[in-house]
Symmetry: C2
Subunit: 357 residues, 2 copies
């Protein structure tokens, strides 16, 4: 078992000092041609690689970014991670992930864990429990320690930081207007409780679209589901609720659902009730996962481009991290170096498939 080779070891065996080795490997002109070459050759021979931990300690930066998400077994979040990973890798950063599992305390613990030197900054999406409690102290404390945060998807005004969101509102308006343009007269909405910002915004988009088309949003047509229902376990509860929606609204001819599961379940229930898709009923969902693509009929969706979100979030974070770098010797500094926080909106896009005409 070959132990890791260190500067000290090279120095000893080549009978020079550690600093000389360090400089030689950095190609410093302070070191003579011959010694420099000799050291470099030997180092390459031993396959020397500097110890990241030591570098981190010295430089006070770890070149790794912490990603904190509520759940990883979820198509949207994994595409975001992929995006983050891609640009992180490109720019020389590592990614360490923490799962909050939608729990407030796990979110806090994970943050504290990572904030003690392990990472340079966070990319995160807030857990549902945190949104419910509206307790954001851990975010603000982290930021106050000088660790920047970029939030995506589930964001909150109470924390000042860079944010990356999708145009939930606009996307929903577009979707519902498409249903209207396609001839739908009675459009149902299947959504979540309002405390999840994205659910609320998508609901508002639905309302706005109807309003702008001089259509009445019958309360009967709106199904608000609480979280217990979206759990995979009680799929039957979900189906039941949706069935009630259809039965209460026999004239329903369009459905807008705020996520994929609701949408495909709606199609399933509709088919059971003898409704033909898209002839009797057209369906559009929000998100893009695997379900929508492979359902039959395949589902028309509002795509949110998770990967692009991840890429943008990582870019924002790293930009800020590397801006802070040349902050110490801010001599030319216009006195406010702090770059203003940015909220970046990733455009959604409707992908038409078989569930609409």
């Amino acid at each position: 078992m070959k132990k890791k080779v260190t500067l000290k070891q090279i120095a000893r065996e080549l009978d020079v000092s550690v600093s000389t080795v360090s400089r030689a490997l950095a190609d410093s002109k302070e070191i003579g041609e011959n010694t420099r070459r000799r050291i470099q050759a030997y180092a390459k021979f031993l396959n020397y690689k500097p110890n990241n931990i030591a570098l981190s300690l010295k430089n006070k930066k770890t070149k790794t970014i912490g990603v904190l998400i509520p759940e990883i077994v979820h198509h949207f979040f994994s595409t975001v991670i992929r995006g983050i990973e891609i640009v992180a890798n490109e720019r020389g950063y590592n990614v360490i992930v923490g799962l909050s599992n939608e729990s407030f305390s796990k979110e806090v613990l994970n943050m504290e864990m990572l904030a003690n030197g392990s990472i340079d900054g966070f990319v995160l999406s807030i857990s549902k429990e945190t949104l419910l409690k509206q307790d954001y102290h851990h975010f603000n404390e982290t930021i106050n320690q000088g660790i920047p945060i970029v939030m995506f998807d589930r964001v909150v005004n109470e924390v000042e930081c860079d944010k990356v969101i999708v145009d939930d509102f606009k996307g929903s308006v577009k979707a519902v207007k498409k249903l209207i343009a396609n001839g739908c007269k009675h459009i149902g909405l299947i959504t979540t409780m309002d405390y999840v910002s994205v659910g609320r915004l998508r609901t508002q988009g639905y309302l706005r679209a109807l309003e702008e088309s001089q259509m009445y949003a019958a309360p009967n047509l709106i199904l608000k589901l609480d979280d217990m229902v979206s759990l995979e376990e009680n799929l039957d509860v979900l189906e039941n609720e949706i069935e009630q929606l259809f039965k209460k609204n026999p004239k329903i001819d369009g459905v807008f659902a705020v996520n994929e599961l609701y949408a495909v379940t709606a199609m399933k229930v509709a088919k059971k009730l003898g409704l033909a898709i898209p002839d009797d009923l057209q369906v559009i969902g929000f998100t893009d996962g695997v379900l929508s693509k492979h359902a039959s009929p395949s589902l028309t969706i509002v795509s949110q481009h998770g990967q692009k979100i991840g890429e943008k979030a990582a870019d924002l974070l790293i930009d800020r991290l590397e801006m802070d770098e040349d902050d110490g010797d801010a001599n030319i500094s216009d006195n406010t170096r702090e770059q203003a926080f940015e909220t970046c909106v990733i455009e959604t896009e409707i992908i038409e498939r078989e569930s609409t005409k």
Copy 2:
């Protein structure tokens, strides 16, 4: 912006030495009652948390494990990560993920990146390109550096380490036998090229089941798809291939597919060709993802319990890491401390749904 508080700072402000602070916080009895309490109180007041990087450097262990997978936007892999995360968290470890994207060079680079001090050990699944090239030097070198590896799912005999796999062979036999028991006489197989071990094993399972039931495995009934086809992009190619399979075998009445996508696509094509499921054709897939649960009809599958795989892999790795700990002062040592490598098989389970009788 409050800078991170350090031992030195506490020491200065309390007019004691750094070592005294360190010991006081560690509750050492070497430090007097009063100073100890005074220091502890002040530390708590300042919300002192030790710097992980400094600890890592000192202890030569980072308490983080590296996870290297081919792809993250994949239900199976994300469930595995979830499993890893759960036990890692429980046992005080962090998880840093790297994506090889099925590429050999990215796999190597990622490993080298992380192996330089960032992690204590790896949990990984081999990329397809690596399997093709059969170049495993990076794994062996890493192990040789004293960094243990646990492989899961896609493993390889050429590397000696702990492994966690599913009983691909046995699971496939079970699945195909179930089709036979359900009355299928002509069972098709949709599988991948042989160099991916899991594909090969599942194919062998199919063959064995037929053999044991004195059935002939007609070459016509076996569809081996290369990887280009499994890409989401050319879904139509996949559908076309499967359609040919059905047309060449009009008497086909059962299908065993080695992954979810193949299985649901088979159902889709079958429905298009006018076959009723499960009456005319029964289908079983390997894996468990979201598709199978929500397809219509829902898909009977061989579930591989990704989360359990992740949990076991993480446990094996951490066990080995913490075994190595008390290895230095191995005084009572029966001369071979090295624990033998373990290959752990996670049992599969057939989950019956609507695609079988």
